[in-house]
Amino acid sequence: MTNKNSIFRVIMALVAVCILIPIILMTAWAFTSRWQWPDLLGESLSLRGFEEVFINNVQGFRILVSSVFISMEAAFFATVIGYMSAQAFVMYDFPFKKWLHFGSMLPIIIPSSVFAMGIHVYFIKWGINDSIIGVLIGHVLYCLPYTVNILGDSREALGNRYEQQAMMLGCDGVTAFFHITLPLMLPSVISAFSMAYIISFSQYFITMLLGGGVVKTYAVLVFPLISAGDRTIAGAYTLVFLLSSMMIFILFEGVIKFIVKKIVGTET
């Protein structure tokens, strides 16, 4: 038994190494002054990369903050619309349900660049090109398959029983929703929210084309730096990028754990 298990442990350790090494290397690049070929270690420790990100590039920090806000908004709408849609798909039977459900998976089939190029003319016609509204529409659309999926699975698992029980005891629909269904759905809601946040935060093409250079997100800012020459600066920017995407996720995980603890009374 020990022999067999050690193979799997070796595999997992290898996988963990493959995943963590790029991140460690990128961090090393971000904190060095120069790292010329063929040195295996950087020349010296330096914060010049971060100086560039936070001090020299005055826009940089502002764009980071506004990107966080934009993605929060996109995640919010994607979650609310996803919840409403999941509720419809899971709890009701109606004509065209299968078609509409397939429609919710359509953004996974149609590439975001194709969508952006296709809708661009119309956004211009409607006056929402180069604006946050257009960008948000694109982001929310491409988060929807994931939020509908996550919330749908959870909604199906939860079922109607608790709501029905409450209503039999005299409570009305709205109160049942806010006091029973929503609290029980909360972990899944937060999970869908964080997934949508990450997807929106990572979006490049939609923001680039539909935002037209007027709506600047961090992803659009960092994109040209990847193939540019200075790897220290690219490293610093992407490290901040990576950390800010993950921080929100980790934050929300903590919130979920806290809520579940409060509701269920035990650690998960």
């Binding site: 067999k4 193979i7 799997f8 595999i11 997992m12 996988v15 963990a16 493959c18 995943i19 963590l20 090494i21 790029p22 991140i23 290397l25 990128m26 070929w37 063929p38 040195d39 295996l40 609310v80 409403m84 849609s85 509720q87 419809a88 009701y92 109606f94 509409l100 429609g103 919710s104 359509l106 996974i108 089939i109 149609i110 590439p111 975001s112 660049s113 194709v114 952006a116 190029m117 296709g118 809708i119 003319v121 119309y122 529409i137 929310v140 659309l141 929807l144 509908v148 935060f201 990572s202 490049y204 093409f205 992803a219 990847i226 193939s227 790897r231 690219a234 490293g235 990028f241 993950m246």
Partner: protein, 291 residues
């Protein structure tokens, strides 16, 4: 009557967004067929599609995109399933591994591109290690792994990100099968390997196929990685389509839209293939139960 309308009312915001997406698709298809009243092009014509297919640049872009997506999907699925199986059997430090596995899923593609550059470029860490191992003496003796015409750097980037995705996607499914059916097979005398390949793997196929098609379709149509890690020629199809789209002459637009149209059609074919295989698989499982 209002009760009957409730699901539709709930779906209104979703339907609005869906309509916008369908409008984008319809517009791409129509413009690709040459219908652009703004420019006075009022006739539907297959000329642009013909021109696109006759263009050698287009066919090499199409082949490159297909090659990249198929190869990266195959490797990602095999590695992902392997990771999944190993994760289920690893009891120690399980939580740590599960969290580590989530990192690539949370990493934006743009960051993955930088990872590939840091490690595999001519000035990357692998090249430096080779220098110290005396395999190469000059920086340009290191092979062009990324920025190469087969898109190897792009494929590596996709594998890094998609294999953990497959593992995670299939995990809960495979776990439940492993705990019940695989153990039952082992109890009945099958060797662990036999029971994995004859029981767990076939039963996990729906989830595996699901993940495979998501990443296949995605890697075919995605823009970021092929742009950042690709060469000037051939460009992957999404990159090529945008180059055409940005052409200063608006009369060139239907040409770009024809390329987009091809992408839409191929993605839909991939999706249709998935649905066909999915139903075949499910029917197969159902039939074996009925026996």
């Amino acid at each position: 009557m209002i009760k009957k309308a409730v699901p539709y009312i709930l779906l209104v915001p979703f339907m609005v967004l869906l309509l916008i997406l369908l409008l984008a698709v319809a517009n791409s298809l129509l413009q690709g067929l040459g219908y652009m009243p703004v420019l006075g092009l009022n006739k539907i014509s297959l000329d642009y599609y013909k021109e696109v297919f006759l263009n050698p640049d287009f066919s090499s872009s199409l082949l490159l995109s297909l090659y990249i997506s198929v190869i990266s999907t195959i490797f990602s699925v095999v590695i992902g399933v392997l990771i999944c199986a190993a994760l289920i059997k690893t009891k120690r430090a399980e939580k740590f591994y599960r969290n580590v596995l989530r990192i690539p899923i949370l990493t934006p593609h743009i960051v993955v591109a930088l990872f590939v550059v840091i490690i595999f470029s001519q000035s990357g860490i692998l090249s430096r290690i080779w220098y110290h191992l005396n395999i190469i003496n000059e920086i340009n003796e290191f092979p062009n792994i990324i920025y190469n015409r087969k898109g190897i750097g792009i494929i590596l980037g996709y594998i890094w990100k998609e294999a953990p995705f497959v593992a995670y996607f299939v995990l809960s499914f495979m776990e439940s099968i492993s705990v019940s059916y695989e153990e039952a097979a082992i109890n009945l005398g099958a060797s662990p390997i036999r029971s994995f390949f004859s029981v767990t793997l076939p039963l996990s196929m729906p989830a595996i196929l699901n993940a495979a098609f998501i990443i296949l379709i995605f890697s075919f149509g995605a823009y970021e990685l092929p742009f950042l890690l690709g060469v000037t020629k051939p460009k992957a199809l999404p990159v090529q389509a945008y180059v055409e789209y940005s052409h200063p002459d608006l009369r060139h637009r239907p040409y770009a839209m024809a390329e987009n149209g091809v992408m839409i059609l191929i993605s839909l074919v991939m999706a249709a293939l998935y649905f066909y295989l999915w139903h075949k698989k499910l029917d197969g499982i159902r039939k074996s139960y009925d026996k």
